[in-house]
Amino acid sequence: MNTDSTPQSPQQAGESGRANTNDQGSTRVEESPRKAGGFFKIPPGMEDGGEHPVAQRVRERFPSAFIGATLFRGDLSIHLKKDALFEAARLLRDDPALDFDYPVHVTSVDYMGEPERFEVVYDLFSIRKKHQVRLKTRISEEDCTLDSLTPLWEGFNFMEREVYDMMGIKFNNHPDLRRILLPDEYDEGYPLRKNFPIEGRGWRDTFEFLES
């Protein structure tokens, strides 16, 4: 293989694609850093973001809710327990040293098969300080609720509605939690969940055909 002119990371990506594609998919679920007990391991390929000043500030204020922080391609992610998310977000907004004023986006990811199934991701940016942070929190399928951040940043209103619409995560204290992209009366579930069918439910196969 010609390795001279290739940068490091895609090289690794290509190597892993060639060497251990088959076992990677299967082992990943068991080796997941998240167990129900909540210990945190930095995933392979990522750096520890615990020394980042923003992460340190959050850890000082919420030592018990702070699970860990990672750095990947320059993006800082802070993993928090769900009960402290609202207060931590308020700290990020109001602390003059952090000053996160801009709501970038809200996303949810479905890790089906893991004990805490859903991950809700909030991306924040500070226009004055020009730095970024990503808050991540895990919630389980049984208790699929989270405190809304709309009271802090109004821009999250529609974005949280979309997360509710697509993933079925309910936000407490949200002013207007309705479906947004799908019709209000839609009752076939939440499309971005991994168990949502992507090829129809087979009802076409039940059609009767006329014999000629």
Partner: protein
């Protein structure tokens, strides 16, 4: 039914006229809604007191679709998000994938990307100006802006064979290089275009109807605009200096001289002014990029991720294997998650990608500026007239394909 005595002037406790709030459905088939958008307006007379945008008429499940196809296969789907500005969607997406992979691209490719992105920004702003003026009742502007838009779309046609759904950007570079014909056409365009912008200005800045319908309409302060997550010209019209091209420069934006125009009042007129100034700035960027255009490759040589050049594929066994693997199976991205925002002409278009080491994204989220701007619609329309609602659609420059995804 029991008849009641009609109210008289003497009986002051009863109102002379019955007033009540009126619920009005605007859309989804209204020509000014730029797609299929419905807004439920609560009116008091002609004044809007509450508005509730009903989205989703163009929802196609693009984010779900992305989880079932490889990274490269998703590029054409980004064309269909904001279908009047396909190039910028491609750009935002390939940048996000490149950030996930951690690859850098050759300098010439960065310049080519910047030039085409700015051409696309001009096309977007011309489209916006024409339709915004048309919504407000000035029909002539539309013909003038589409005249120049046509010139640029012809350049795209020459470049990649398509005018709207272009798919010219690739992970690691671009699909093909400029030829001399395109460079000449672009030089001719940037020489002519400033006089054309003056022409649009003469049609509008002294037009009393245009001024009456844009000045002081849909005012939003800088702090509110930031809290609502507005971006792009809509944010800069309120005087907030936030442009990703300056904050986190990509492409060749840090190698050329240009400024970020900022509005003062945060009304529709200031947003119009900001966009007109951006036309001038884009012209400057294209001119400087063409002058500085370096020689070199237009694609990174990372054969595991980027298709090797055809000459190598036909002569070299390794390249042929890579080509075959890439088009049959795709490449595996390293596990991790990234967010990458790009300053598209509507605002911050961002992609959040979660990878678990497969050749397909585990989750792909599109931060669509049109969707987030619609979140501030109720706040901005409150207290204005029904006719101004149309102006607000225009001032956001919404495209429903991107809003509903």
């Amino acid at each position: 039914m029991e008849l009641k005595e009609a109210p008289t002037v003497a009986n002051k406790s009863l109102p002379l006229l019955r007033t009540e709030e009126l619920l009005l459905n605007l859309g989804p088939q209204h020509p000014s809604t730029h797609g299929v958008l419905k807004v439920v307006l609560t009116l008091e007379g002609e004044k809007v007191i509450k508005s509730d945008p009903v989205l989703g008429y163009l929802h196609r499940g693009v984010e779900k679709l992305a989880e079932t196809i490889t990274y490269n296969q998703f590029i054409p789907h980004t064309d269909r998000l904001d279908y009047v500005c396909a190039m910028y969607n491609n750009f935002a997406y390939v940048r996000a994938v490149e950030k996930l992979l951690g690859i850098t691209i050759p300098e010439r490719a960065e310049y080519l990307r910047t030039i085409v992105a700015e051409v696309q920004r001009i096309i977007g702003h011309l489209f916006w100006l024409g339709t915004q003026a048309l919504d407000i009742g000035a029909m002539t502007v539309f013909f003038y802006t589409f005249r120049e838009r046509e010139v640029l779309l012809d350049i795209f046609d020459e470049l990649c064979g398509a005018r709207l759904t272009t798919s010219w950007y690739r992970v690691g570079g671009v699909e093909r290089d400029f030829d001399q014909k395109i460079i000449d056409a672009l030089y001719k365009f940037v020489a002519d275009f400033p006089s054309k912008i003056e022409e649009y200005d003469t049609l509008l800045v002294n037009n009393r109807i245009w001024l009456a319908r844009t000045k002081g309409i849909a005012v939003i302060s800088g702090e509110d605009a930031v809290r609502y997550g507005l971006s792009g010209s809509t944010l800069r019209g309120s005087g907030v200096d936030y442009d990703i091209r300056k904050v986190a420069p990509y492409g060749a934006y840090d190698k050329v001289k240009w400024t970020v125009p900022l509005g003062r009042n945060g009304d529709t007129y200031d947003r119009y002014w900001v966009r007109m100034m951006e036309l001038h700035e884009s012209t400057k960027i294209i001119k400087q990029c063409l002058d500085q255009l370096p020689q070199g490759d237009y694609k990174a040589y990372v054969p595991q991720v980027v298709a090797p050049p055809k000459e190598r594929v036909f002569t070299d066994m390794e390249s042929m294997i890579y080509q075959f693997k890439l088009y049959s199976k795709g490449f595996n991205a390293p596990p991790g998650d990234i967010y990458c925002g790009t300053e598209a002409h509507k605002g911050e278009l961002g992609f959040y990608i979660v990878s678990r080491g497969d050749s397909k994204p585990y989750r792909l989220k599109i931060r669509a500026p049109s969707f987030i701007h619609m979140g501030a619609f109720d706040y901005m329309a409150k207290g204005y007239m029904i006719a101004d609602v149309i102006t607000i659609f225009g001032t956001y420059d919404i495209v429903m394909g991107e809003c509903d995804r």
